[in-house]
Subunit: 351 residues, 2 copies
Amino acid sequence: MFELRLVQGSLLKKVLESIKDLVNDANFDCSSTGFSLQAMDSSHVALVALLLRSEGFEHYRCDRNLTMGMNLANMAKMLKCAGNDDIITIKADDGTDTVTFMFESPSQDKISDFEMKLMDIDSEHLGIPEAEYEAIIRMPSAEFARICRDLSSIGDTVVISVTKEGVRFSARGDIGAANIVCRQNATVDKPEDATIIEMQEPVTLTFALRYMNSFTKATPLAEQVTISMSSDLPVVVEYKVAGMGYIRYYLAPKIEEEEEEVAAHAQTKPRAETKLKVETKPKVEPELMEVAEDEKESKPPAESKPKEEPQLLECHKLDEESKPLVDGKPKVENKLGASTNGEIEIMDIEQ
Amino acid sequence: MFELRLVQGSLLKKVLESIKDLVNDANFDCSSTGFSLQAMDSSHVALVALLLRSEGFEHYRCDRNLTMGMNLANMAKMLKCAGNDDIITIKADDGTDTVTFMFESPSQDKISDFEMKLMDIDSEHLGIPEAEYEAIIRMPSAEFARICRDLSSIGDTVVISVTKEGVRFSARGDIGAANIVCRQNATVDKPEDATIIEMQEPVTLTFALRYMNSFTKATPLAEQVTISMSSDLPVVVEYKVAGMGYIRYYLAPKIEEEEEEVAAHAQTKPRAETKLKVETKPKVEPELMEVAEDEKESKPPAESKPKEEPQLLECHKLDEESKPLVDGKPKVENKLGASTNGEIEIMDIEQ
DNA sequence: CATCGAATGG
DNA sequence: CCATTCGATG
């Protein structure tokens, strides 16, 4: 039996709004650790990783690991029926192929339950590599969203360049070219307005704005966004889910051409789409999740540190032999970087 | 070299929103006097005249008169990328065919620049006639917009009748007829709510609501609108741009038929479109611009008074022999009425 | 269905 | 002044 209860139901609503445009169907992995999802977008260019840790819920019970395949659009539809102040309970009994969403109004005067059929989804189980990122930008999520939206009206592609002075977002297209430069401004006493750049090495990468704009659907979840970049690695765009975990989006960079070429190119023919290639992991290697320390201190993937003895959890499917938990709150190390299967590879398609 | 800097960038954004629906491509005329534009709408029925005087900018530099052909939709797109509080700088270097829009966020933490290609536009250089208007209505712009919108749901055409008692806007169509009468109410202590009618002669004119509704896109620019009318002359709908100048829209009246005929007509066949015919002035007669006194006192074209020796400025193209300026702030009289070229003529098409 | 613009609330 | 939401449009 699986049951979770979330008093701040609006969080779950926002989470679904943040991923439903990118992914049609996906498996939610339920374990004693938490409620999580990893999925590629339908065109296999981007990847979403969601983690909602069990500690973030007011009630959380997961007798056995379990995978629930859901149509995210339908799930979002149902969650839209919850008031923003409603308490949401998700329940799945063993041996049924349905999940139930329960919504309690704050006053307890209205109680709804919505039952949804589960789906059997070919689980491409994804290994997400950890990396040391050369540059990590932390900035107001609304500002990032605005920049991506603005640049979309100029071109399809954004070039993000990080230097010590700041970060530059550039686009060009038929009607002209644009550059937006954000200076570091950590000195603000309002931390939510800060723009902070941690840079080991200058990095310049190119991305499809279409996906960036999908990512920014998560803006309502967090006032700040973290953008982690390394040469030739997928960018990680992370939004924290307050007190519970995160949504991370991964997007492979477009293969860089020479600057001049890029410019000329943009005006003559569309650029080839670079795909984020993730090896599908056929239920062999257990899927891993990170349990980070308190939100305020947790760092982007690059900086997560091993804390305790790794606890492997098979989240992909029910596993009768799943390993014992550590006093009910298993500490699971992020083993992503160490994984030999399921690496993300950059593959240049069509060129 | 040409450069202007406007601290209240939202003004420029609004200006473009006010004209981009009416005009596709247009030449901006840059001179030491200011930044201006005259253009007919794409169907040659209406005319827009924009003037932003150099004194209205925080910085204004125009070494030589210069014409910049722009696609207004693209320009509007770029300006949309400026925040409402941003400072906007427009720059054009000599010998380039591009213009650069720079946006500085109030905190200076974000600086954007957008480069746009200029176009070579057949400049129909328009002479705009001045006239003594028989009736001038001054009223809240929002109220005027509301009236035009409301009447659009009844008919395609508005009849505006000015009498001493007030102004009547009428429309009729398949579903019925509507009359909206606004009384003069100058007594209000809130001047922005006042409706003032200056009338020498009762006037009744008929206009296509479609264009009126385009004009009201300028409503956000000014709390008051001025509507100047004379028999058989184009109406002038003017919105002041605070501290800088104006946008004026000109629209030729439809040829009046007898009231009954009009009613019957409207229900049987579409009315012929009356076109605003403007003689294209092939760079012969210098284009003139009005430099009005302080905004609060400046009057619509009909009432502008000669103040000093007229100063002619060739704004259409670089003119090495342009006349000297009066102590750097040229006072230019509106010579529109005196112009012998480029008159607006009413021409009844197709009937 | 999706995207864009307008109106309203924080 | 910015953000969200709703309505309208292609």
